[in-house]
């Protein structure tokens, strides 16, 4: 598979104003994720991992530096343009799953594309749930599912719009080891079969077994 940069941060700096003092969460970070690779970002809490993931996920914009998606500079995109980018190209998996409690598994998977009336999202949602092994749980609501099942629903949801990159924030953080392993197997399969770039942030040692590359982030600086 040819190397293809899906998302890229160049000399990204992020500063927060907290009361009187300015906190520099990222101090000039260069980062890139390629198709079909799984990158894990590790570092102590407060090192800027989440901030970095927010920038890569286009949930936030850097104070200085550049963000590129597929080689396009999206740094100065408006919130609405960023929303379109997230919708079409980025999938999210959260530590706390963040499924909507009043929707069934299928409806939760459909959610990101729910307002697109054009595509046949129901079939695709069912297909995705079958692929993550939840074909018999289509109409269950999140509280009827185990943590691992919920996270698999969340992965299916992240895939509904056929993203090029999947961002996982502590994807195994709320799961036991064995369940975590099934989730990681699932992610690996996606990476290999679909060529999706996966960027994960974690404390979990287990995740490192599956990852292609580890990025250490300390005090807002990457230490390879």
């Amino acid at each position: 598979m040819a190397k293809m940069t899906v998302v890229e941060l160049e000399d990204a700096v992020k500063r927060y104003q907290s009361g009187e003092e300015t906190i520099e969460a990222l101090k000039g970070v260069d980062f890139a994720a390629e198709r079909g690779e799984m990158v894990t970002v590790i570092g102590p809490s407060g090192s800027g991992k989440s901030t970095m993931l927010n920038l890569v996920g286009l949930l936030d914009t850097p104070t200085e530096g550049t963000v590129r998606v597929d080689g396009r500079d999206v740094t100065d995109f408006t919130e609405d343009e960023l929303t379109e980018e997230r919708r079409s190209g980025i999938g999210f998996v959260f530590q706390a799953f963040h499924l909507l409690p009043m929707l069934t598994a299928t409806e939760n998977v459909e959610l990101p594309s729910m307002w697109d009336t054009s595509r046949d999202r129901r079939d695709r949602a069912v297909d995705l749930l079958q692929r993550v092994g939840l074909g018999d749980r289509l109409d269950h609501t999140p509280n009827q599912l185990s943590g691992g099942q919920q996270q698999r629903v969340a992965i299916a949801r992240a895939l509904i719009n056929e993203p090029k990159i999947l961002l996982a924030d502590e994807p195994t953080g709320n799961l036991d080891q064995d369940t975590g392993r099934t989730i990681l197997d699932e992610l690996t399969r996606l990476k290999e079969e679909e060529g999706i770039a996966i960027v994960a942030v974690t404390h979990d040692e287990q995740l490192l077994e599956y990852t292609d590359r580890v990025v250490h982030l300390v005090d807002g600086v990457i230490q390879e």
Partner: protein
């Protein structure tokens, strides 16, 4: 295709429905506020309508009548034949009924006496509605008597009554011509008061209040130039108008009071929506993160508010209809009058207000939720 499938084509509505279902008690209480507001507006409005209709009925036929008598500047002691002719020419199609009046005491065989107004008139049918017997277009012989008086004196149809030394057979029992009820009246042919040269009153009976007012205005212009008051022209249409305008004012005041409760209800909705969007902040952050547009979040929350308004409005309108049935039953004895347009209008008004107030209350929470930066929202 099931209803759920159909709803799924309107994602904002579907999501709103699911969200409202999550906290049913809160949803029900918010809707209850709206219901109370709608009932307040609609039933007060309907009460106003019922009062107005009842007042109109009570004033009865008077509103389309113009009453003419000699004014202080008249040279005659009544309305002359010439003036009656002129009134006829100005009245167009309306019936012009000249009358002479007197008073007398009728006595029954058992000695009971009743003091009655005596009205001499030819076209009795224009002024009197009979409850028994007939009311002739040209009263040449016989007499009409108010029903209550006949009962008190033990007089029945066909019995004779004596006036001015002559006997008149009672051929009809009538309601008193004044809509205000009461009053004893004996109606006799004009010949009974032949010695009186001029008419005491001329009544013009028009098709409706507006025409009556127009005729009254023409008569004023013709007979009473400047400050002269040759003929005194009284139209009850203006009385009706002032009663109407009073009732309209009253109605507006009632509606104002009703609106206050709806304002209170919409503040409650604002509060509920604001609380529920703050509670769901993280969830809305997830929606935004996975690519749901700001406008879509906005529509979803507006749909929730609109749902509350529609449900509250429908239930409120049905409840108001019930209240209206009771009001009309109490005031006019005919509960079905509530289905008339004047009442139904207030039901629609109440419903419209409910939906509008709810959507307006939803705007700020919806806007706030939609514009929350996803990073902040996800942090919770």
């Amino acid at each position: 295709m099931s209803v759920t499938d159909l709803l799924w084509r309107f994602p904002s509505v579907q999501m709103a429905w699911r969200n409202l279902g999550r906290n049913r008690v809160r949803t029900a209480l918010a809707a209850l506020g709206i219901i109370i507001g709608v009932v307040a507006i609609s039933s007060l409005g309907i009460a106003g309508v019922a009062l107005q209709q009842q007042a109109t009925t009570d004033l009865g036929s008077l509103t389309n009548e113009v009453s003419i008598s000699a004014g202080p500047d008249s040279t005659a002691d009544g309305v002359t034949d010439d003036q009656v002719e002129e009134i006829r020419s100005l009245a167009g199609d309306a019936a012009v009924v000249p009358q002479k009046s007197n008073a007398t005491t009728l006595s029954a065989r058992d000695g009971t006496e009743a003091f009655v107004r005596v009205t001499a008139v030819r076209q009795a049918s224009a002024l009197y509605t009979v409850s028994a017997g007939d009311s002739p277009d040209r009263l040449e012989s016989g007499a009409l008597l108010t029903g209550g008086t006949a009962e008190r004196l033990g007089i029945e149809l066909g019995d004779p009554v004596e006036y001015d030394g002559r006997l008149y057979r009672v051929r009809g029992l009538v309601e008193s011509s004044t809509g205000f009820g009461g009053g004893s009246e004996l109606v006799v042919p004009l010949s009974a008061l032949a010695e009186q040269e001029h008419y005491d009153t001329v009544t013009v009976v028009a098709a409706d209040g507006d025409e009556a007012q127009a005729i009254a205005d023409r008569l004023e212009t013709r007979f009473n130039e400047g400050n002269d008051d040759v003929l005194s022209v009284t139209s009850f249409a203006s009385t009706q108008e002032s009663i109407d305008s009073f009732l309209n004012t009253l109605n507006l005041a009632l509606l104002g009071i009703g609106s206050i409760s709806l304002v209170v209800a919409s503040v409650a909705i604002l509060n509920v929506m604001l609380m529920s969007t703050i509670e769901r902040r993280g969830e809305i952050g997830v929606l935004r993160a996975v690519g749901i547009r700001r406008g879509e979040v906005l529509r979803m929350i507006l749909a929730e508010a609109a749902f509350l308004g529609v449900v509250g409005g429908v239930v409120g309108a049905v409840a108001s209809l019930g209240v209206g049935l009771v009001i009309f039953q109490a005031l006019s004895g005919d509960p079905l009058l509530v289905f008339g347009w004047p009442s139904v209008r207030y039901l629609l008004l109440g419903f419209g207000f409910a939906v509008t107030a709810s959507v307006l209350s939803g705007i700020y929470p919806a806007w706030k939720a939609a514009n929350d930066p996803p990073v902040e929202a996800l942090r919770g």
